[in-house]
Amino acid sequence: MVLLFFITLLCLVGTIFPQGHELAEHGHGWASRIPSLLSPYDIFHSAWFLAAGFLLSVNIVLCMRRRVRLKRRNVLMLLLHGSILLVIVGYAMGSMGVDGFVEIPEGGSVSQVDLRRGSSLDLGFSVRCDRFVAEYYENGMPKEYVSDLSFVKNAQVVSQARLKVNHPASFEGMSFYQESFRQSHSAALTWSDGKKTVAVDAREGDVVPLLPAGTQARVVKIWDDLMHAGPAVKLLIQSPAGERYLWVFKEIEAIKGHLPDLFERAPELDPSGFRPYTFSLGKLEASSVTGIGVRRDPGIPLVAVGGGLFLVSLLLMFLAPPGGAGGRPRREDGLSGRTSGQEGAAATGRVKAKGKGSRT
């Protein structure tokens, strides 16, 4: 009873504090994880919760053992509580699985996923997004998100799947879930150092190498319309001499026409502001990036069996007429006098007669 309340209390605390934000910020060293194991911000993975789950399991086992020792062939009661044990063990096994997320641009493919606990995983095959569609109702509400995926192994498409919310796909033991999407732009970016001119197609996060080697432009953000001045990219130019941000507008000539002293007032808007380079921005190409959850949970069969077993034994226990479908005569414990044919009360009398064994 006390234990039940303790777990309930932990759950309660867990919903009050925002969960799961702390863990990612901590290092991976064992020592640095101790505070997070006791922290209220990730309570469902904390030592408290693990201990409570373990204690509950021990308690269930002890109660079950007592029942066995008392030779009460109360199979249903054992099944009922044993199935909770299965669920707990199955849930614990989940931590040995894979829980990752991957973003694939339409037409692109990936073979590595970022795990939510940090680090990444090599899939051993690649996933290509052939097409992504976001459909909307007339009133603007989202209707369907669809990703057409190809699973590619050794340069061969082995399997294809249409991923939708509520319609996951699986390949080689991994399950894939439509989780999110976003619009992304690729920008036609041109740079020149006075001698050489290079045009590249860049996405957010891309790094464009410049000359000489060791100098590069990181594409921080792409806007299709920044402050009503049209398309723009924010670059972080990194060279051995230092680094600085540069905003490159597609319509920089027109903007400068309106504000002739623009570069004096805001040198970071000067496309030639980082000598010797000059940047210019061409067309933006909009495309979708689909966000896919990638998971494998080895505990699921156990949890499913546990959940099903719990339900079945619960139903049999409380809905079956005495001596009926339970398979065991329900009055063999000699309590028929008390039960008087009332559902549920059979269980009552039985346990009461047994003593104080039900302190769960």
Partner: protein
Amino acid sequence: MNSGTIIGIVTFVYLGVFSLSLVGQIMGKKGLARPAFFAALGGFGLHTAGILLRWYESYALGVGHVPLANFYESLVFFAWATILVTFLGMKGGTRDTVLAYVMPAAALMLGYASFSPGVESEIHPLIPALKSNWLAIHVITCFLGYASFFVASVFGIILLRDPGATPGENPSGTMFYRCVMIGFIFFTVGILTGSVWAQMAWGRYWGWDPKETWALITWLVYGAVIHEKVREGGVTKRVAVLSLIGLASVLFTYFGVNYLPGLHSYL
């Protein structure tokens, strides 16, 4: 006449039944119980028709789905399920007594659904996450669970008000325990179907979303109710009080969680 109007009318029918029961109780007029019961039955029929009509209306709008997809629809269904449990599970004087508790609650829920500016009563199409066959079965089982727990608390209150109640022999105790058990079974099915759905939609059967966590809390509290009843050998005051804590937990699982960030925000 649309379903919204019908639900509005039903609200007043339930209020009327509540008034009749109240007058009957205060004036000691047992004769009022019968008209109150028939009015409640009529209101329930209309209520059912309102739900069915809303279902039909959603198809007429071309966005057909079971009317269990937003807060308004869930309130209407919660009220309906509570009365259903009362009608199916009880008869005679017990039923009339329970109706006196259930009717104002149902009227409150329907009134809140119909007249609160904060509750959107329009029919909307389903967002992708809700497009699943699990929607109906998950919502129906959860709310039948809630409804049974609610009726159990009514018996809990009746037991607490009756100082001479002896465990075991008391018919309210029997009804109390039955309602708790039925609720526990439905709620368990609700959680299990919910986790199957969560596995399909979000890729994890359990993610400690506030709604999930509070459902577990509620489940644990009712588990405690059952264990305590078994341990004490009957529905004692402790058990009844525990069930009221359970009801508070049910209400928080249903209403309160909406104020916490989570994935169940649409209900």
